[in-house]
């Protein structure tokens, strides 16, 4: 299982994992109802029943709590994408599975619940560490698939590996970044199929 860790300093007090978890879960519930943008740490403290000072023992800021929620959500997507890729028998099928599972999971997590999209949009728009780590991990998974396909002779080897991988990542990006994905929701049925086909044609030896 992957771990997208935030590099924002978050914990101040002792590493009391369960209290941190409790705050994150309550905050996620609160953000889902009221949105991330409009909520203050005071609102959260009141809703959770902790003092503001106690919350600040665990998190530096509202963004740090948002980051923790984003990391959890983006980790969920990564785990599901990794499972889909692991289940696919060939590099060709892994490319398709990756695109499909990424779009399906991100759409479901961000857009079936618009309020969670709200945090994801802040994360992507402001380049939070969780969003950057997520994009980086997606590119890494692509790298592993392309490398495997080159080794098995399924994919071409003339183009520099980095260029191949990064250009496929750019094709997927509008479906990875929730700020772009929100404008592509009418394409989520056809785009993964059509774009995977195009990418696979570009990978043909």
């Amino acid at each position: 299982m992957s771990e997208i860790s935030s590099t924002t300093p978050q914990s101040r007090g002792p590493a009391d994992h369960s209290v941190r978890e409790q705050i994150v879960e309550a905050a996620e519930e609160h953000f889902r109802h009221y949105g991330y943008g409009k909520t203050t740490v005071s609102d959260l403290a009141r809703a959770i029943g902790f003092s503001k000072a106690y919350i600040y023992k665990f998190f530096d800021s509202k963004q740090a709590i948002g980051e923790a929620i984003c990391s959890r959500t983006l980790n969920t997507i990564i785990v599901l994408v990794e499972e889909a890729v692991a289940d696919a028998p060939t590099p060709t099928k892994k490319i398709r599975s990756m695109f499909n599972s990424q779009v399906a999971t991100a759409t479901s997590l961000f857009f079936n619940d618009r309020k969670l999209y709200d945090i994801a949009a802040h994360s992507a728009g402001e380049g939070w560490p969780s969003a950057r780590a997520y994009a980086h991990r997606i590119e890494q998974i692509l790298m592993e698939i392309v490398r495997e396909g080159r080794e098995s002779g399924e994919f071409e080897r003339k183009t520099p590996l980095d260029e191949t991988v990064h250009s496929i990542f750019l094709v997927m990006l509008p479906y990875v970044n929730p700020l772009l994905l929100q404008h592509n929701l009418d394409l989520i049925e056809e785009a993964p199929v059509q774009l995977s086909n195009l990418v696979l044609r570009s990978l043909a030896p």
Copy 2:
């Protein structure tokens, strides 16, 4: 030269082309300063020095004026893209020129002047006829290039033509639609090159 015509009913009075043009030009100037969203037809009338009733003789609504401005702007992009494509000597180079010129022109027109982006965003987000006609024309130009490349033996012919063209269009879409392009401005240097290369690999016979 292409003509992106709006199918929205616009003219009510006699086809007084020069008055329509005068209103469109004044409105564009006004929108550039104050934004499309915040301006009313009354504001426009006051700024132009016409009565509201006189403006309504030529345009049904503010959107109809916005449509006329969008059509002009999008036509400018299409004309520049067509020129770039015509100047490129081979289908391979036409693909690159098309991508480059489209991104460069759209970025310059929509984002060097954020207020004009405001109208383009309304047009794209609400599916105005001008935006749909523009996307359609971009896909048509792609069709012409791919067909030429297939005839000359430069591009593969196994994939159905419609599928090839539409999938390339999907790759370009995040740089064609201003709502997506706004989030891709940090990629406008590398993306046209990397994505053209990937598309051209996918077109290899």
